[in-house]
Point group: C3
Chain length 290, copies 3
């Protein structure tokens, strides 16, 4: 059976909404595929913050239909030798610079056995796991010409995504490559004293502190006795995990909508109150677990 052509392109950039850069990309896409559905993930990524873009793409792409094309352009090295790439998973296609912005897509399958100490966003060339393929987008026929040195989003990534949405096969648009440059995605570590050391990996616009600790990290080999869990972030201790924001008072620990443990401040901004930043540690102790 013929696979139907995907017809959704999402856009994630650090271009903001006050200039016409995003609109120019959309114009290029619609010039190639007038029938495509365009969806903004966000354009308010802090300038050049590849890591933040990687996180938001990670937590949102799974909600789109299979075959959606995700265009992500946070590209401090635009015009340098970093490659324009496409990454294909069983569920989606990503079009982006090879600068770590797709780290979560690759790392999901290649999480290192030994945890690093603290957060480390250094790029490492990493072989792709089974089931994931990548392409170097080097066929100039699918670029817009002349190619600006400073705006590959408009001249390379947008037209390539548009051609993909029309069903052009990736092996016509680029060449298969076996590895990408990715950073190690944040994840928690067990400590000798039995506690779990995680990190803030994102702070959302409500000021909620989203850690890298998942439900399975909390429960791992422990009896489920939620009220005894104690979390410490920036000197603030929080006891127990609430089911709802509305349930607690003051600081609240909760399993957020992406499955990560997060800290919120009831009727306030936890991040401002704690003066916290991405990378701050998140310590989890289980009290008197039997």
């Amino acid at each position: 059976m013929k696979k139907s052509t995907p017809n959704i392109i999402t856009l994630t950039t650090d271009f903001g909404l006050s200039d016409a850069y995003v609109a120019s990309m959309k114009g290029v896409i619609l010039s190639i595929n007038p029938g495509v559905t365009l969806v903004d993930i966000t354009h308010n990524i802090p300038p050049q913050d590849v890591r933040a873009a990687a996180f938001l793409l990670h937590t949102s792409h799974t909600f789109f239909p299979d075959g959606a094309i995700h265009l992500a352009v946070v590209d401090p090295g635009v015009g340098t030798s970093r490659r324009p790439i496409a990454l294909v998973t069983p569920h989606a296609t990503f079009v982006a610079p090879d600068n770590g912005i797709l780290s979560y897509m690759v790392a999901g399958a290649t999480r290192p056995a030994v945890s690093p100490t603290g957060l480390d966003f250094k790029l490492r060339e990493t072989k792709l796991p089974a089931g994931i393929t990548a392409f170097h987008l080097n066929n100039l026929d699918f670029w817009r010409h002349p190619v600006s040195h400073t705006f590959h989003g408009r001249d390379i990534f947008a037209p390539v995504a548009a051609h993909l949405s029309l069903g052009v096969p990736l092996d016509k648009i680029g060449e298969p490559i076996p590895s990408l440059f990715i950073f190690t995605v944040p994840h928690p570590q067990s400590q000798p004293d039995g506690s779990v050391m995680g990190h803030i990996q994102h702070i959302d616009s409500f000021g909620n502190l989203i850690s890298d600790i998942k439900v399975e990290d909390i429960m791992l080999g422990k009896t489920e006795k939620k009220t005894e869990i104690e979390i410490e972030v920036r000197g603030q201790k929080i006891t127990g995990i609430c089911r709802l924001y509305a349930e607690g008072k003051g600081f609240v620990a909760i399993i957020g909508s992406s499955g990560y443990l997060e800290i919120a401040l009831k009727n306030g901004n936890a991040s401002k109150k704690l003066e916290s930043k991405v990378g701050d540690s998140f310590t989890l102790t289980h009290g008197q677990i039997k």
Copy 2:
């Protein structure tokens, strides 16, 4: 004749545009109905400001085609017992939490005979007027699973709106309910001295002060002699109502685009200048009306 399936979903939230929460909702909707047209009303509602969302929904939904579906998620009580609901008027369908966000839709038909003193946003269970029906969205088959405790926008409201846009009848998705929880929408009161006491019910991003006083409240039983009307807001007196922003100087009173009397500051921000807030009184005296 078969009624055609509506195919527009609008979105109103307090999620902002810097995270991927809105995009996740759109992904869920497009996964169910890839052909739907999505339109953002706004996502910049101040966090948890149900009243502001209610006002903006009120002033914009009438401009959409009949049968449009309006999804509104400002939901401080997410995960508590407040019900997910749908409200059907002759012109539109609303999908939202039962927390007052649809007050204007219901109150249009149920405006109390006796005016309350000042603004009061307390929720009161209110029987629906004729011509309006409501449903408790309690059929889990139309939800996304697993349902996050903290993000019903994505897991309940978005999928329900998407199914509605495909033409699924509401009585399959929920159960009819006779009443909703709404607040009394702001409206002006006649004073013993013949003046009209209104209130600021919204401040827009230009700093314009939008009152709850409509043309019919001004003219009621009076001869039309516009230049003699005097308005007082935060100690500032404004005489006469201008037809255009460009007409006046300094503070200008004008009938705004939603039909409410509003105060603007020529080449400035009236709200900042007057240090005003929603709920401040707006007094209207008619001078020497004959």
Copy 3:
């Protein structure tokens, strides 16, 4: 051969994204043409900054498919005698107030032979060049009624754009007019000492200073010896033009994605650092050109 009906409408306004004004316009458009594709250029034009809107429309509209309709509503004179107009070029149709917002579209063909001194945004009635036609949108049948005095975007421009997107010919919607009110678009001047005096014509949200100097202005009659070019802005001297943002250090001069010479600050905001504003001069000297 019948020309196909264009089906894209872009929107450029100063309404911001915190109110429902943009959504109301979209609702009106979709009520008339439910199948149209709507694309936001930007809604974050500074309040009433017609010039900024003109620039962003200028640099983005060329990336849209031929026949796209561009709706631009920055309209400080709403309700006054300024005319609602449409402008038709070989590639696009613009719908806007006749207040200079389309200056770049007309001025591209009518650039004055003698350069003015400094920037001058005074409106002058200007005869249209060959190949461009304009219409006064005065047929009330294509407006939304009642027409608000303060929101022609919703009641005149949006419905007209929607009818145009359905293929209604412009001579039914308005009457041909031979001239429009435009300002002289910024452009550089040769100085007696051989230098080129340009201006900052836009500052983007990264703080990049975009001049009115194009590649052809730099090279004009000079041997190409890029490294010797010297630029001075607000007392800051920059030598040479880089190919990429990533290439330089500190302040970097670069040919930006719209073809204009611009100044960026590596890992910083050039505009804030130099306390610059639109209109500041941009002096280009060619050093020892042979």
